[in-house]
């Protein structure tokens, strides 16, 4: 499970995730990438381990190797997942017991849909909430 509640100047942030695979799609500019950056910083400051990937990813084997070699992983984030997600990576991720969040509009189909939970990020003037449907 992963929980993050922040009360920053002018912005409150709330994230609550189970050890499941979540997919975020829907509208642009809802704070999906921004909340990923906050989660990464939150993990850094709180001695939690976050594996995070984005469009810079090139080698799926490197991702799998890195995740396999983390001993106590708290969360895995995949931004721009449509640019690099493969069936091989999806199959590997499905075996893990850790919160995984994908920003994907197309390649989430590599997963068995019964394994996926749709996630909704709602960004209003002063708060961002990440919640499942």
């Amino acid at each position: 499970m992963f929980e993050m509640y922040l009360n920053m100047n002018h912005l409150s942030v709330s994230v609550h995730l189970q050890n499941k695979i979540y997919v975020q799609m829907g509208n642009s500019a809802t704070g999906k990438t921004y909340i990923f950056s906050l989660i990464k910083q939150f993990c850094l400051v709180n001695n939690m381990i976050c594996c995070s990937y984005d469009y810079n990813c090139k080698d799926i084997n490197d991702i799998i190797y890195e995740i396999k070699n983390k001993k106590a992983l708290n969360i895995i984030l995949f931004d721009n997942a449509d640019l690099y997600l493969t069936q091989q990576l999806a199959d590997f991720l499905a075996t893990l017991n850790v919160p995984i969040v994908l920003n994907s509009r197309l390649k989430y189909k590599f997963f068995n849909t019964s394994d996926l939970i749709c996630l909704h990020t709602k960004y209003t003037d002063n708060s961002i909430i990440m919640e499942d449907y």
Binding site: N9, H10, L11, M25, G26, N27, S28, A29, T30, T33, Y34, Y55, N80, D82, L83, R105, L106, Y123, T124, D125, N126
Partner: protein, 148 residues
């Protein structure tokens, strides 16, 4: 120029470069345009206001001007298409609200699974080539693209 929609990579003319990494391409080569349409895109997609060609005011105004890199990938893709009409941009990462804006812009796009959730009208007419047919009425194009 029209909006030319390609649904598979093989349809893209050989002399036209396909850009997939819209975030990186925008950060390096594209600015925030100051036109009525770009202001409309900023308002409707980002809930933001134009500040300069490299900054904007986001929905949390207390943050002040944000650098263009903070725009969503959807908006970055739209501005890439508008400003680099000799290239073809993959719209894979555009959200529903950004895809609607394709109706109003010109350029070249790769759109593998075309579908539009059509809500509001910025204007009634468009200039779109899709599967060998030219559309000048948005309603006709939306019907075609959604398989109606």
């Amino acid at each position: 120029m029209s909006l030319n929609i390609f649904t598979v990579e093989s349809e893209i003319p050989k002399n036209m470069e396909l850009i997939t990494y819209n975030d990186a391409y925008f950060n390096l080569y594209t600015s925030i345009p100051k036109s009525d349409l770009s202001l409309y895109i900023l308002r409707e997609v980002e809930k933001a206001k134009y500040s300069s060609d490299i900054t904007f005011i986001g929905r949390t105004e207390e943050f002040g001007s944000l650098y263009k890199e903070c725009l969503s990938t959807g908006t970055k893709t739209l501005f890439n298409i508008m400003q680099h009409q000799d290239k073809c941009f993959d719209v894979l990462e555009c959200g529903t609200n950004a895809l609607v804006m394709l109706l109003y812009i010109q350029g070249n796009i790769l759109w593998r699974e075309p579908f539009i959730v059509y809500k509001t009208l910025y204007k009634e007419h468009c200039d779109i080539n899709f599967k060998g047919v030219h559309y000048d009425r948005i309603e006709d194009f939306v019907d075609a693209v959604n398989g109606d």
